[in-house]
Symmetry: C2
Subunit: 342 residues, 2 copies
C-alpha cells in the first residue's frame, strides 16, 4: 500500500502518527511519503498545493490527512487552495461520513438514542463549485452571487453509490435530503435521479426530507436514518449536526472518495488543527484511527477495517467504563493498536 501522508498543522501530525501506527499494526506492508502542506508551508512559500505535488499525490493508493490551518491564514485560502482543490482535482465525489454513537460515548441528546447512519455527501459540485461573482464591491450597489452547479452525471453517480451502500446494510433505507420546494431546479434533478436510480435497487426503501426537517430530525429522532444522500452544502451542515449528536467532531471520521479508483481517495478526521493544544500529547487520535478503518475498507481490506473499527468501539467503551480518565495521544494510540491486533 502506497500511502501519501499530509500531517498538516497543529495536532494534525500527532494524530496521524497514531493513525499510521494502528494501520501498520493490522497491515504490515505500508509505504508512506510525507507531504508538507498546510498553513506552515503557506506562510513560508505562499504555496497551497503546487501542481507537482498534486501530480505526485496521484501516484498513491490513498491519502491520509491530519488537519490543516492556523489562525494566521486568511479564511478561504487553505479551504479553496488545498482542501477543496484536492476534492475537485481528485474527483472525490463521494464524501462519506459515518454518524454513529459508540457505546460509552455520551450524546448531548437526552437518553443517548441509538444512532448508526452514514451520510453520503456529494463532493465535487453544488454550491462548492466556486461559481459566482461580485459587482460593484464596496459600494451600496454591490451584488454578490453564488451559483450551485448540479449535473445529472454528478448527481447520478453519488446517488448510485449511496443506494449501493444502503443495499449492503441491514435496514437498507435511504433518505434523500434536499430542498425541492424552494430550490426547484436542482431539487427536481436530485429527486428525479434518486427515483430513477432507486428502481435499480428494489430492496432499498426510499424516503425524502427537506433539509430543514432533516436537520430537526437529526436532533429529535436520529434513529430514523440509515443512509442519507445529499448535496455538498447540505451535507456539510448535516454531517456537523451528525458529529454533534454523537459526541462531537473530535470523534468524527471521514473519507473523500473517488469510488472508481481512478484517483487516490483521501481520509481525514473532521476536527481541525487545534493549535491551542498542539504538541502537548492532548489530542485524541480516535477520529483519525476511525478514518484509517475507512481507508482500509475502501482499499478492499474489509477484515482489517473491521478490526480497526472494532478497536475504536472497544477502546471507547473501555475508556467510559474506566471513568473517562484523560489519556495521552500516544496512550490512546497504543490502546487502539493493541486492540486492533487482537
Amino acid at each position: 500500500m502506497r500511502l501519501a501522508v499530509i500531517g498538516g498543522d497543529g495536532i494534525g501530525p500527532e494524530v496521524v502518527a497514531e493513525g499510521l501506527r494502528v494501520l501498520r499494526a493490522v497491515h504490515p506492508k505500508v509505504e508512506t511519503t510525507d507531504y508538507d502542506l498546510g498553513a506552515r508551508r503557506w506562510h513560508e512559500t505562499g504555496e497551497t498545493l503546487p501542481d507537482s505535488v498534486l501530480a505526485e499525490l496521484r501516484g498513491h493508493d490513498a491519502i491520509l490527512l491530519g488537519a490543516v490551518g492556523d489562525p494566521g491564514v486568511p479564511s478561504g485560502v487553505l479551504e479553496r487552495g488545498l482542501l477543496l482543490r484536492l476534492r475537485f482535482e481528485l474527483d472525490h465525489h463521494v464524501n462519506l461520513r459515518p454518524v454513529r454513537l459508540y457505546p460509552g460515548v455520551t450524546s448531548p441528546l437526552a437518553g443517548d438514542p441509538a444512532i448508526d447512519m452514514i451520510v453520503v455527501r456529494e463532493g465535487t459540485e453544488g454550491p462548492y463549485a466556486g461559481a459566482g461573482g461580485t459587482l460593484r464591491r464596496g459600494t451600496p450597489q454591490e451584488v454578490a452571487t453564488e451559483e450551485s452547479l448540479n449535473t445529472r452525471f454528478g448527481v447520478e453517480r453519488v446517488v448510485r453509490d449511496a443506494f449501493a451502500r444502503a443495499s449492503r446494510r441491514p435496514r437498507a433505507h435511504l433518505t434523500l435530503v434536499h430542498k425541492t420546494n424552494v430550490l426547484t431546479k436542482a431539487g427536481d434533478l436530485w429527486a428525479r435521479t434518486a427515483a430513477e436510480v432507486g428502481a435499480e435497487f428494489p430492496g432499498v426503501s426510499i424516503d425524502y426530507q427537506h433539509v430543514d426537517a432533516a436537520s430537526m430530525f437529526f436532533v429529535t429522532d436520529p434513529a430514523r436514518f440509515d443512509v442519507v444522500v445529499t448535496d455538498n452544502m447540505f451535507g456539510d451542515i448535516l454531517t456537523d449536526i451528525g458529529a454533534a449528536i454523537t459526541g462531537g467532531i473530535g470523534l468524527a471520521a471521514s473519507g473523500n472518495l473517488d469510488p472508481s479508483g481512478a484517483n487516490p481517495s483521501m481520509f481525514e478526521p473532521v476536527h481541525g488543527s487545534a493549535p491551542d493544544i498542539a504538541g502537548q500529547g492532548l489530542a485524541d487520535p480516535t477520529a483519525t484511527v476511525a478514518s484509517v478503518a475507512m481507508l482500509l475498507d475502501h482499499l478492499g481490506h474489509a477484515d482489517e477495517a473491521a478490526r480497526v473499527e472494532g478497536a475504536v468501539a472497544a477502546s471507547l467503551a473501555a475508556r467510559a467504563a474506566a471513568g473517562g480518565a484523560r489519556r495521552s495521544t500516544r496512550e490512546i494510540g497504543d490502546d487502539l493498536a493493541a486492540r486492533a491486533v487482537g
Copy 2:
C-alpha cells in the same frame, strides 16, 4: 388594528381561531378580514395568490397565517406561489424566529440547557431568489443551477435590524453565521457589511461562525447564542434546529417583517397544516399565540405583547406542573386568554 387572516388548511383555521381569541382578550379593537388561500383554494380554482387578493392584503396592518398545504398539492406550488410570493411582494426581509426553551418544556438535549436566542433570517434574497435554470432536462447531459443573489442593500438592512435587536437585549451579543470560507463572494459581502454596520453599535459584541459549526453549537452549546443573523437558506436550517432543541416546531413562532412599515408584516406558527389531526381539537395553538405576541410587539403594543408572551410561558409551566395531560385546542386557548388578561 386591521388584520388580514389566512387560516389556511388542516389545523390552520383552528389554531388561528385561538390566536385571535387571545389577541382580542388583550387588544379589544381588532377588525379582521378572512382570506381563503392555500391548498383548498388551489384545488378548487388553481389560484395560489391572485393579484387582487395581494392588493387587498396590502391594506392591512398585519397578517396572521395558520398553515397551508395538503399532501395533494405538488411540492413547490404553495411555497413559491403563496408563501414565498408573500415574502417577496411584501418585502418581508426580516424573518424573525425566537428560539427559547420555556420553563416546563422538555428539550431533547440532555440537562435542558438555558436557551434564549433570536434568529434574524434574511427573507427576500439569497438562494430563495428563484434564480437558476435547467438545461437538457431528463438527459444524461442535464445541468441544473440555483443562484444565490445577495445585495449590499439587502444584507445591510437585515444586519442593521439584527444589531438593533441585539443592542436592546441584556447580553447584546450578535453572531453572524455564513460560510465565508467556501461561499467567498456572498460571504465577503456579509462579513464586510456586518463589520461596518457593527461599528454603529459599539455596545454589541460580534462573533462569526461558519454554518456547519453553528449548527453543531446549536446542539452542543446553545447558550452561547443571543442574536443570530444569517442568510435565507442557512436561516431556514438553523431555525428548524432551533425549534428542535426547544421542544419542536409545535411551539415555534415566527414573523416575516417589513420593519419599515411600508407593507403589512405576517405572523405564523412554524408548524404545518397537519391534515391527519385537523378538525379534532387536537392541535396546540401555543405557537400561533406566541406569534400573536410578536405581532403585537411589531405594531408597537409592547405591553400587550409581554402579557401574551407571559401567558405562553406561564401556561406551558402550568401544563408541565400538572403532568402534561392532553388538553384540547380550545382549552389551551381559554387558558392562554385567561392568563393574558391576568
